[in-house]
Symmetry: C2
Subunit: 225 residues, 2 copies
DNA sequence: CCAAAAGTGTTGATATTACACCCATGA
DNA sequence: TCATGGGTGTAATATCAACACTTTTGG
């Protein structure tokens, strides 16, 4: 039988899939690993958690280091715990997904970091492709069920920005006319009075109206499947 | 700085919130703890994971031991990782929630186990109340967004059974007429031809039609918030 | 016949969908 | 003036919610 101390042999890590929206496209933050055993492989940003460090604290520290800010939406997903997922010993990975407006990043990206298009994720180290798959699933569900778009749009955005994000996330074509009307009707979005000029007719700029969401606690009692 | 080996000091545990439906009510399985430091306290069934044991394997072993079966729906939720959540050292807890038809339990319950009404959970050891809260949230969301009811109904059930579950889970009164029609329309449910007699008019017995769900992969592209 | 629980029908209100159409800009 | 993207209007259809009504049992 195992002695008591033999249960205390595992390590912990945090990894995050951070998503942003930049010049009309969705991106995931990836990091080239430096340390053995996966030098030069690509993976999700992450770190080993110190023995007395809280998971959130470790994550905040990491993000501050990498991006100069740790003030963004994030949510813990599953733990990845397979005995042999890491070659150096058992390391349980606590995975997160996060959303950040591109403009909020406070530091120039280190050369080890890169934003990869969400629809074209390369092969990653360890089980990180599996983690990314889970992250993308949750990302999509979040878009459908919560006003998560606003977590990674800039302060001011157009309805077309929103539509672009949904179209990419779901690889589908949306009827802009109807979708836009739904958003407006929801009151989640308030016109700022400003406009963005590009080509064609200038687009109204909106901002997120958080209070309109807070006052809707009621989960409707009908099947949604 | 930490030496490498100092990262490998943590333990892992699995805990599960198993929900069932028995004589018209929802219950959660709880276990009286035997081992130090929480003797006689109540908590979620769980165990420490062995150094070379996969998390799922540990959970399966536990459930087989407790209930005589490990064949039921379950899903991993967050990890609970606070440094001091366990008094004997850092133990990260991988939490699950599960659903089982009461009839599928193969063993008489040990005296350490009990089914507690879902709406009246007592004070639990460690951070288990917090875990239960998360489990109940996911349980409710699962009921709204997926055909999870069928995971813990018996093979044959009535529409009223379904309605009872939803009413309890959401502490609300449902219009049985409309709700029943929605269920029927969904084709998720097929009449067996049998009836259950009780008081009043006998109720048609149905069974779950899994295939009707599988062929609906399409997440509708509209806001649901 | 009555009470109780199951199940059906109807209807007005609301939401969704598919488009046609108009608007404001730069080149 | 045209191309381009932004934005409004409308009408057919589908869905929802409320609730009256009917059916089938046991006592």
């Amino acid at each position: 039988m195992f002695e008591f101390k033999h249960f205390f042999r595992g390590a912990y890590s945090v990894n995050i899939g951070l998503i942003t929206f930049k010049s009309g496209k969705l991106f995931l933050l990836l990091q080239q690993k430096e340390e053995y055993p996966s030098q030069n492989e690509i993976g999700l940003p992450g770190k080993i958690i110190l023995p007395n460090e809280e998971t959130e604290a470790a994550l905040k520290k990491l993000m501050l280091e990498l991006l100069g800010t740790n003030d963004f939406y994030r949510k813990q997903l599953n733990a990845f715990t397979a005995v042999n997922r890491h070659p150096l010993g058992r390391v349980a990975c606590f995975s997160y997904y996060g959303l950040i407006p591109f403009q909020n990043i406070q530091k120039p990206l280190s050369s080890k970091l890169s934003w990869e298009p969400l629809n074209n994720i390369p092969n990653l180290c360890y089980d990180h492709n599996q983690i990314v798959e889970m992250i993308l699933n949750r990302f999509r569900k979040g878009l459908l069920r919560h006003p998560r778009v606003f977590e990674f749009l800039p302060d001011q955005f157009t309805i077309t920005d929103i539509i672009t994000i949904y179209e990419q996330a779901f690889s589908t074509k949306i009827d802009a006319s109807n979708f836009g009307k739904q958003i407006l009707k929801s009151d989640l979005v308030m016109p700022t009075g400003a406009y963005r000029k590009d080509s064609g007719r200038p687009a109204k700029l909106y901002e997120f109206n958080k209070s309109a969401y807070i006052k809707k606690p009621k989960d409707k009692m009908h099947f949604n499947f």
